[in-house]
C-alpha cells in the first residue's frame, strides 16, 4: 500500500505552518482543506491522466496535494513553457484532462480524451527536464522517489522557513516544496515567479533556508537585499559549484550551513557535499564511505550506482556490468578532491539553462559564408559558463560583417542565453583523438 501526499500531510500537526504568503500564513489544516475541496470540485475520474499547465506556485502545490494518489499520471508543466511544447507534451503523455491557471473555475478543467482506467497504483509524476531547447525530456517519478532524500524531521524542520525560488514544476523546486511541507518548516511562496516579489516575500517572512543555482546565488548577492535574511541553510545545485561562490556565501552568511548537491535527471539527488569546498572528496571513489557508490572511468566519466535504477533502453545502455551508470559528467581528480569539468556531450550550462552545442552549430551553419563551426563553453564568473564559437569561413568573406550576420541570425532564431558571446575565426577546427569535435570547456 502506498501513501499519498495528502495522507503524509494529515499525519502532521494541523496548526503547523504550511505556506507563507507576504501577508498571510496558511496552516497545514487549511492547506489540506483547500486541497480536499479542490479534489471534490474538480470531479476528476479516478485513474485519469492530468496535465497541470502553468499554475502559480501556490495553486500547483494545492493541486499536487489534491490529486496525488487519485490520478494515474500528473504532468507538471511550467508557465514559462511555450504553447507548442506544452501541447506536444500533453499529447505524448496521453493526458485525459488539462488543468490550467484558473484552477478554481470549473471551465479550467478540459476533458481531452477517454482512456480505460488502470489499476490503483501510486500516481506517476512527470517532470520536464529544465532549460533545454526543443522538446524537453519527461522524467517519471512517484511521491516515494521524490521524497527519497527529503528529511521528515519536524523538530529540526520547525526551526526553518524555506523560500521557494525555483519553479515547483521542476525537480529542484518540488524538492524544496516537499522538504518544507513534510518537515513543517513553512514555505514562503508567491503568486508569481517574479524575482522582486519573491525577495519581498522572503524578507517579510524572515526566510532562513534557500536553495538556488550558483548563478542565482550570485544574482541574489549582487541584489543585496538578502543580506537582511537570517539564512541558516544555503543549498546550491543545478550547475557546477565553484569555490568562489561557496566562499562568498560563507562570508556573507557565516552561521549558515552551505551545502552543494550533485543531482542528475537519472540519479535524482545523488549526494550532497557539506565541507564548504568545491567538488567532492577523492576518498569517496570506490569507497564504502561515499554517500552512494562512485567510480571515475579512465576517460574521466563519473559513474554512480543509484539506489533505484530508472528504466528505459537509453539508461540501460549506459550501465556497466557492475551496475554503475555513466552520468556523462566529466571529472578530474586533483589531490584529495574530485572536480567537475562539464558534460561529456559538451552541453553548456548558462546559469542553469542547458545549451546543446550541436543545435547552435546548426543555426550558425545556416549563415552564408560559414563553412564550419564549433560551439563550446567558456567559463564565466557570473553565469558559470557562456557560449563561444569558432568559425571557419569562406576565404573571400570579411570577418566583421560575418560576425554581425551570425549574431543577428542567432538572435532571431535562438534564446538570448544560446547566442554566442564570442565568435572567433579559425582556419581549421580542433578534433579529439577519436575524431570527435573537441568540446571541453575553456
Amino acid at each position: 500500500m502506498f501513501e499519498t501526499l495528502f495522507q503524509l500531510l494529515s499525519e502532521l500537526p494541523p496548526d503547523g505552518r504550511a505556506l507563507l504568503l507576504p501577508s498571510e500564513c496558511i496552516p497545514m489544516a487549511t492547506l489540506r482543506r483547500d486541497a480536499s475541496l479542490l479534489a471534490q470540485h474538480s470531479q476528476l475520474p479516478k485513474g485519469c491522466r492530468i496535465a497541470l499547465c502553468g499554475l502559480s506556485p501556490l495553486k500547483l502545490i494545492k493541486a499536487v496535494i489534491a490529486f496525488d494518489g487519485t490520478v494515474n499520471v500528473m504532468l507538471l508543466l511550467p508557465a514559462s513553457m511555450d504553447a507548442r511544447t506544452t501541447n506536444q507534451l500533453i499529447q505524448s503523455s496521453h493526458c485525459t484532462h488539462r488543468i490550467d491557471a484558473l484552477l478554481d473555475e470549473p471551465e479550467s478543467i478540459a476533458s481531452l480524451l477517454n482512456l480505460p482506467l488502470r489499476d490503483e497504483a501510486p500516481t506517476r509524476w512527470l517532470l520536464a527536464s529544465s532549460g533545454t531547447t526543443g522538446t524537453p525530456k519527461l522524467i517519471e517519478h512517484t511521491l516515494a522517489s521524490l521524497c527519497r532524500s527529503v528529511k521528515r524531521d519536524t523538530v529540526c524542520g520547525s526551526e526553518f522557513v524555506w523560500g521557494l525560488l525555483y519553479d515547483p514544476c521542476r525537480f529542484a523546486g518540488m524538492q524544496v516544496v516537499l522538504q518544507a511541507l513534510l518537515s513543517t518548516s513553512g514555505l514562503c511562496v508567491s503568486e508569481s515567479m517574479d524575482f522582486d516579489t519573491q525577495i519581498t516575500g522572503f524578507i517579510a517572512n524572515k526566510v532562513n533556508a534557500l536553495s538556488a543555482t550558483p548563478s542565482l546565488w550570485r544574482r541574489l548577492l549582487m541584489d543585496g537585499r538578502i543580506a537582511e535574511l537570517p539564512l541558516r541553510q544555503i543549498t546550491l545545485g543545478g550547475e557546477t559549484v565553484d569555490q568562489n561562490i561557496l566562499d562568498a556565501l560563507k562570508h556573507a552568511f557565516p552561521v549558515a550551513r552551505v551545502i552543494h548537491i550533485y543531482a542528475s535527471t537519472e540519479v535524482g539527488t545523488g549526494f550532497s557535499v557539506h565541507d564548504g569546498f568545491a567538488g567532492f572528496p577523492a576518498n569517496w571513489i570506490d569507497s564504502v564511505i561515499a554517500p552512494l557508490p562512485l567510480r571515475v572511468r579512465e576517460d574521466g566519466h563519473l559513474l554512480v550506482k543509484p539506489w533505484i535504477l530508472p528504466g528505459g533502453k537509453e539508461i540501460l545502455d549506459r550501465v556497466d556490468a557492475d551496475g554503475y551508470l555513466d552520468t556523462q559528467d566529466l571529472v578530474r581528480v586533483e589531490g584529495d578532491r574530485v572536480f567537475f569539468l562539464g558534460r561529456a556531450s559538451g552541453a553548456i550550462n548558462v546559469g542553469g539553462n542547458k545549451v546543446n552545442p550541436e543545435e547552435i552549430e546548426c543555426c550558425i551553419r545556416e549563415v552564408e559564408g560559414v563553412y564550419d563551426v564549433r560551439v563550446y563553453a567558456k567559463k564565466n564568473s557570473i553565469m558559470g559558463q557562456i557560449v563561444a564559437a569558432e568559425v571557419v569561413s569562406a576565404i573571400e568573406v570579411e570577418p566583421e560583417p560575418l560576425r554581425k550576420s551570425i549574431q543577428r541570425h542567432c538572435r532571431s532564431h535562438l534564446e538570448n542565453w544560446q547566442v554566442p558571446v564570442f565568435i572567433s575565426f579559425v582556419t581549421a577546427l580542433k578534433e579529439t583523438s577519436s575524431g570527435k569535435r573537441e568540446r571541453l570547456p575553456v
Binding site: 568562489n244 562570508h251 553565469m383 549574431q407
Partner: protein, 80 residues
C-alpha cells in the same frame, strides 16, 4: 576605465534589446542599470578581453558588487 565599462554595457544593451539608464552614477544599483544577469555575464567576459583580467576570479575573498560604483572600483582595484 569607467568610460570603457559604460561603452561595453551600452553595446550589450543595444545587442540584447535592453534599455540602459541614460546616465550611470556610482550609487546606482547594478541590477537596476538596465542589464540582466546574462548581460552582466557578457559584460564580465568582454571586460576580460578588453582589460586582460577577470577580477571575480582573482579575489581572495569573493565579493559581488551591488552598485555601479562598487563594480568599477573592483576593476580598478584588481588592475595589474
Amino acid at each position: 576605465m569607467r568610460e570603457t565599462i559604460i561603452a561595453i554595457m551600452s553595446s550589450i544593451a543595444d545587442d540584447s534589446d535592453l534599455h540602459l539608464k541614460s546616465e550611470l552614477h556610482d550609487q546606482d544599483v547594478l541590477l537596476e542599470c538596465g542589464l540582466d544577469s546574462l548581460g552582466f555575464a557578457i559584460l564580465v567576459a568582454h571586460l576580460e578581453e578588453e582589460f586582460g583580467y577577470d577580477p571575480f576570479s582573482l579575489m581572495d575573498q569573493p565579493y559581488y558588487p551591488r552598485t555601479f560604483g562598487e563594480f568599477v572600483a573592483i576593476y580598478q582595484k584588481y588592475a595589474p
